[in-house]
């Protein structure tokens, strides 16, 4: 066996390893009902902030916690506890992705990603 063949086998092994690893990752996009069914499994939930209910944030009590209501893509609404300070421009967000787990009836998120309407490139809407 030539050394080049050994290298080839190593390359293939790494490739298989990477694929198995990603397939084994449980992290996936989900909605609240799936997260509710599998408590303590981490999910990425896509949804919208319910802007009719105020965001609760009192930095005097805990600067790293805020709470708000989110409606997921299936229309289910749940209270979310985000273990971070309130994101900038939260009220303007169009879509949010929450990363965390359901605990009881509340979704505990460690991280949040937001899509804001005009962050980078947006269709032209002139104001005069």
């Amino acid at each position: 066996m030539k050394k080049i063949h050994i290298l080839g086998i190593v390359v293939i092994a790494v490739a298989i390893g990477v694929i198995i690893y990603t397939l084994g990752q449980n992290d996936s996009y989900a909605n609240f009902s799936e997260a509710l069914a599998n408590q303590d499994t981490e999910y990425h939930v896509v949804g919208k902030l319910d802007k009719t209910i105020p965001v609760q944030y009192d930095p005097k009590i805990n600067a790293d916690e805020c709470s708000f209501m989110v409606i997921d893509n299936k229309g289910l609404e749940k209270r979310v506890i985000l273990h971070k300070s309130v994101p900038q421009d939260f009220q303007k967000s169009e879509q949010i992705v929450l990363i965390g787990k359901m605990q009881g009836d509340e979704f505990h998120a460690n991280d949040i990603l937001m899509k804001c309407p005009s962050k980078y490139n947006d269709p032209v809407k002139p104001q005069i």
């Binding site: 990477v18 996936s28 805990n62 600067a63 300070s85 900038q88 005009s118 032209v124 002139p126």
Partner: protein
Amino acid sequence: MEKITYIGEHLWLGNLGNAFVVLSLITALASTVAYFYYSKETLTSEWKKFAGWCFTMHSFAVIGIAGTLFYGLFNHFYEYAYIHQHSNNSMPMQYIMSCFWEGQEGSFLLWTFWNVVLGNILRKTIDAKWEAPTMVMFSLVQIFLASMLLGVFIGDYKLGTNPFMLLRENPELANAPFLQMPNYLAKLDGRGLNPLLMNYWMTIHPPTLFLGFASTLVPFTFAISGLWKRDFTSWQKPALTWTYFSIAILGTGILMGGAWAYEALSFNGFWAWDPVENSSLVPWLVMVGAGHVMIINKNKGGSLFMTHLLSIASFMLVLYSTFLTRSGVLGTSSVHAFTDLGMQGQLVIYVLTFIFLCVILLIHDKLLRVSYIMLSLVMLAFGVVYGYKTVVLLSWIAISFITTIYAYIKFFPKEEEEESLYSREFWMFVGSLVFLLSALVITYFTSIPVMNKLFNTEKAPIKIADYNMWMIPFTIIILILVGITQFFKYKKTDGKVFFKHIRISILLSVVFGLACVIPLYFLRDYEVAKGNEKWTLISYAILFIVGLFAVFANFEYWLRILKGKIRHAGSSIAHIGFAFILLGALISTSKRQTLSINTSNKNVESLGKSFSAQKSLLLTLGDTLPMGNYMVTYTGRERKGIDVYFNTDYFTKGKNGQLEKAFSLTPMIQDNPRMGTASNPDTKHFLSNDIYTHIAYGLLSDPKEIKNDAYKEPTNFVGHIGDTIFADNAIILIENITTNVNEEQFAKNDSLLEVTAVLKATDINGKVFYAKPKYILKENVVLPDNAEINELGLKFIFWKINPNEGSIEIQMSEKVNNSKDFIVLEAYMFPFINVLWLGCLIMVIGTVIAIIERRRLNKLTTHH
């Protein structure tokens, strides 16, 4: 409907610009054809002349497009959608350039422009033999890029997006009221550049990065010409200088991006494995691999397949990145990808065409080539007519892959002799393979959204920690190879001599490494680490030691083997820089310290279990809290235009315990009417560490500015002597209760009773105030009496005594504007991050030295 005649539009500009766009496309086509015929016939001057003329015309057209767009930007011609969207009247001159490349069309234009510059340098400097085939490929790429700016409809399909589209041609604005006025331009102002991008990084980062992207085209055209002309070696020498150039420029562009993210955006670091960052890193990794196999080929021959594969792959990955970041496919997984401009299909076709072309050129059998072409066309037709796009695409990729392997086995020259384990070429080859493999792993991870689309899955993007976990082993192998490989000679090395040369570096790095690593990772961190974290710490330690080894070994090679000669030291210096970058990244990230952990005693109890995850700190105006080695105080805000600056002072303890001001930081929140708010960090740079802060949460207007002297709803307290009451800005102790009469006197004379509560209020700075509200009972009627502390905006009413419980009741009112201004701050200490920036500098210097030396050697060999 009556057609409106608009006043003041400069339609000639669009016409001129579009003429240039069309001209650039036609000349690119003509130049491709002309160079193709020129390449067929050996050095006929007629085709050469014509082809050269076409490319010159094409260059002229591209510069024309850019010039026209610039003219429009300078003169604020807002009738054009691109100019309206990216510029405005108040745009400072230095940012007009940034407006140019802020959008998709402009950045394509920037790319095309650099291609033209490089193409002209290439065709003037290249050997006559390679001019025609490389320029065919160059012109072919230019056709695709020019088509991106076309913006014409073919049936329902829009080809490209045009920078000279008129604002009123936007279908969304068809019925906009302002377009009903003939003189709409008189009042129209542009929307301006995103103020977030209005800094010097935006003027230097995109041009550098796009020059880097453009530079990957040159090695690609050489390699693909090699396949085409079946001359696998003679292109490599001229291509090597270009490869070095590409490594240096693309590397600089990526690092500028990292520096920008660190300095001006609140990402909390310089690298976040964002798909957009990855898509510039991956081509660079592959290009570094390509450069190294080309060095093997130059010195010893061989590695032919790898040189072709890597040179081609680097450019292909640039194309794939373009698709990833500009097609909208990344969706929610990236913070700064472009949104879909309807070019997804076009970009896919662009990528697939070049794969197709490479496979065809690799096949050197007429029958097989024709069958592959036919099969591809049939599959394309099937996909267009019947759908099943995913299946068709995947099977086509599989067929192309199998064909490539078959073609490699069948048609590609291979080395007879096996490389020795004690040879430089073997380990350089391994290193290049590791670079390619790591690039593929990152590409695979980044492509999860693409796979979701293909397979209808819902996989979440890969996390930063997972990227780190996968990349650390690759990095360790690379750093070991960076250290040892130069000590091997080509072909065969005496094992004993090798170990004799390298043992000092090994010894030094292990001794120094352990001396650093043990206090860094094992004295405290290892004890508290759980499960996988222990392995992470061990991997950090190994990375640190091999990083030091790479530095020592290259330094030793330079001093001992090269005798300190700077001319030959390009590679050693670049390697030292590379190792420094990784060491700096390792230390500053793994030992990053959160300074803004909560230190005010008041809140600790309510935090409970989440206390350990605490990363932001509440600072009230005038408050001084300990943060790391500093005491921090928030001294107020300042508004400059749309930027709100928050002033924070940092103090250190002096010799006699006095606080001494060390420095001030003013992190900023931009209150951006177009983009919303954005937090900009501020960083204090020291030689050995950086103190980095940004505002996690802050009010944009000062609550003090809301003039309101009214009191809030009072709250009632029931208490005894010694009890405390918490106000927003003070702690109040019921210190004493006194009366004007004793019980005996009171019994005798019930006309007047005065009970005084002595309240001691201590504010956050420890200043003490007293309030003495009285409870007055006259002829059995309670007379209300209140006591105020004006300094604190507090009012107390002592209104009830409960003789049975022995308690008193006090109403406290706080003024509305007592809720003091505050900020929520995040602060981190990045230790030794300067090692990373120093490494960048050293690496670029090393690469430039290598380029100069390469050019000198090339000249010498051509003269002899």
